[in-house]
């Protein structure tokens, strides 16, 4: 789209013979055929089916579809479990988004100007991104263990009370958020580093000549405005990634304790693949998709308007 400034080398117009054009058309369509078929079968038709099912009472194994209009959606609105899962998801995003974006930015700014230690820090901060989250989730479970985990042992050492990080309903979701940030900070750091590298050095020199000396001034006058598109991009991708939270919940808390960490995708998973309330799960998935589309639309519209070059 417009932010991807690749050269718009269009194919030269064909001027020789209708037969060439015909061959080109055939080739074009043939090359796209597998992709089109897959697109229909694995994406578009399922999407359609999903929306249709959400208006029925279908359960897996049924032989016919009974339409019930918006009953599933109104049931969702009134369902305390669903409302709680939506709230939990939004709360999770509300913690992870600013946390991983700001910390990612801070780390990127600090690492960007290191000369000898830059690679060292880049590798360390990026390691969590490469790790298999499910495996690390088990490790985190052990780290946070109330009796034998090192974190609680450390708290005990400094005289603070031990915490049931995953067993206390008030702490479970924020703890998952910290694990989520653990993985996202390195990712965002790399994105911000790419954005920082794109800022021309002469701008800083010019600013210095103009008397803008302190690092904070330089950051506010040059760095921050020019990081606009990158920041926006990081915010949107982080929101979408955070909104899709599932893995750590499935492994570490299973929605507990007392539903305090049950998130939207986990509710969809339970309803659709454990309880087999297919139509209701379809309606929840439509709601999920709605939020994702809103985030994506924000990216398309706001990002397009803030390009500087």
């Amino acid at each position: 789209m417009s932010t991807l400034a690749m050269g718009s080398a269009r194919a030269a117009p064909r001027t020789f013979g209708g037969r060439q054009a015909f061959i080109e058309k055939m080739n074009g369509m043939a090359f796209c055929l597998p992709a089109t078929i897959l697109l229909l079968v694995t994406c578009l038709v399922p999407l359609l089916v999903l929306v249709v099912i959400s208006f029925t009472k279908y359960e897996l194994g049924d032989l016919d579809l009974k339409f019930v209009g918006l009953a599933n959606f109104s049931k969702a609105m009134g369902d305390p479990v669903f409302r709680r899962s939506l709230l939990n998801t939004l709360l999770y995003v509300a913690i992870v988004l600013p946390g991983s974006t700001l910390l990612g930015l801070l780390v990127a700014v600090l690492v960007h100007s290191r000369k000898r230690t830059r690679s060292f820090y880049e590798i360390i901060y990026f390691l969590p991104v490469t790790s298999t989250l499910i495996a690390m989730a088990t490790v985190w479970q052990f780290l946070l263990h109330p009796r034998i985990g090192p974190i609680n042992a450390f708290l005990q050492l400094v005289g603070l009370p031990q915490q049931g990080f995953l067993s206390d309903p008030a702490l479970a979701l924020p703890t998952l958020a910290v694990v989520g940030m653990w993985q996202l900070i390195g990712f965002n750091m790399v994105l911000f580093l790419a954005g920082l590298s794109a800022i021309p050095r002469d701008l800083y020199e010019a600013a210095d000549v103009d008397g803008c000396a302190s690092p904070i001034d330089r950051f506010l006058t040059i760095t921050w405005p020019l990081l606009g598109p990158t920041t926006m991009f990081v915010i949107v991708t982080t929101s979408i990634t955070a909104f899709k939270i599932f893995d750590t919940v499935a492994v570490m808390t299973r929605g507990g304790p007392m539903g305090s960490s049950e998130v939207l995708l986990y509710a969809v998973y339970l309803e659709g693949f454990q309880y087999f309330h297919t139509a209701y799960a379809a309606a929840l998935t439509v709601v999920f998709l709605g939020f994702i589309l809103v985030f994506s639309l924000i990216q398309t519209f706001v990002l397009d308007r803030r390009v500087h070059y």
């Binding site: 194919a11 399922p46 495996a135 050492l157 994702i292």
Partner: protein, 297 residues
């Protein structure tokens, strides 16, 4: 200030502070910066270090709840042997390799011709198809999951390697990315090849694709990492542990251990996390290019 060698000294435009004071400020700022970064580094590395250390500790030491870093008794062989035999860890890893390789191969086979056609050829429906791929970009796999599951169930294809790979055969991301890349490929080379009698098919695979190697490498990394770590879809379609990819396998193993044999659990986590981490350390540039591959510029 001290870290940008090309910038003129700030002192040129302000009153010159005493050399001792500015040195102190430089040292202080370095200490602050590195202190903060190192604190963050500890946070980032803590799980890895603890994972490795716990995997070689005997149960007695694990449950003694001390903050000791190094085990007094080396128990690594037992833990790893237990993990590798009780849970078919190597099988999970092999499944992961097989699944990721197949998915990637099909993704490239499908996406490259399509991206080329969208970039260079004129045919009816071209804009419409491109629009559809943009739409599909916004749809995560959890959305078609339910209908796909129903379809696969009705076809009796659940619990197979094929079912694990099906939703991922099409990567609209690859199409979008490669299309951008191919658009920049010089047309004269293509025309010359056509005049030489090459078929369009040959042109795609023998001329244009090799030039896109960096993009393909980066995308391959992105795809492998994403599907090695995928839990949601395999969790839904697989009930037979023998077919499980690493995340699902880890979850099954953790369930079976009811979270008490932390030595074996961390050994398993190490085995399953190691491939990607080691690969990362070797191909860091491609790795990072792949992960940030969504057109930041």
């Amino acid at each position: 200030m001290a870290t940008h060698p090309r910038l003129p000294a700030a002192a040129a435009t302000t009153t010159t502070p005493s050399p001792a004071l500015s040195l102190l400020r430089r040292v202080a700022s370095q200490v602050l910066v590195h202190g903060f970064l190192l604190l963050g580094a500890v946070f980032m590395l803590l799980p890895f270090v603890w994972m490795l250390v716990t995997s070689i500790k005997p149960p007695a030491e694990i449950f003694s709840a001390t903050l000791s870093l190094w085990p007094r008794q080396f128990y690594g062989v037992e833990n790893y042997r237990f993990a590798l035999t009780t849970a078919p860890l190597l099988r999970f890893a092999a499944n992961g390799i097989f699944i990721c390789a197949c998915i990637l191969a099909v993704q490239l086979l499908v996406a490259i011709p399509c991206a080329y056609a969208l970039a260079k050829l004129r045919f009816p429906g071209r804009q419409f198809l491109f629009g559809l791929t943009l739409l599909a970009l916004a749809i995560p796999v959890q959305v078609p999951a339910l209908p796909l599951y129903i379809g696969l169930a009705n076809l009796g294809l659940l619990n197979t390697y094929f079912s694990m790979m099906v939703p991922f055969f099409l990567s609209v991301f690859a199409i979008f990315l490669l299309r951008q890349f191919f658009r920049g490929f010089p047309d004269d080379i293509i025309h010359a090849a056509r005049l030489d009698g090459m078929s369009e098919f040959e042109i795609v695979w023998r001329i244009v694709t090799p030039s896109a190697w960096p993009a393909i490498a980066a995308f391959s990394v992105f795809s492998i990492v994403a599907h090695w770590n995928d839990l949601y879809w395999p969790l839904i379609v697989i009930s037979d542990g023998k077919l499980a990819p690493p995340p699902l396998g880890m979850m099954i193993f953790a369930d079976a251990e009811t979270g008490s044999n932390y030595g074996a659990l961390t050994a398993a986590a190490t085995v399953l996390t190691a491939p990607l981490v080691i690969t990362f350390l070797f191909v860091r540039r491609h790795f990072i290019a792949g992960i940030t591959m969504t057109g930041v510029k």
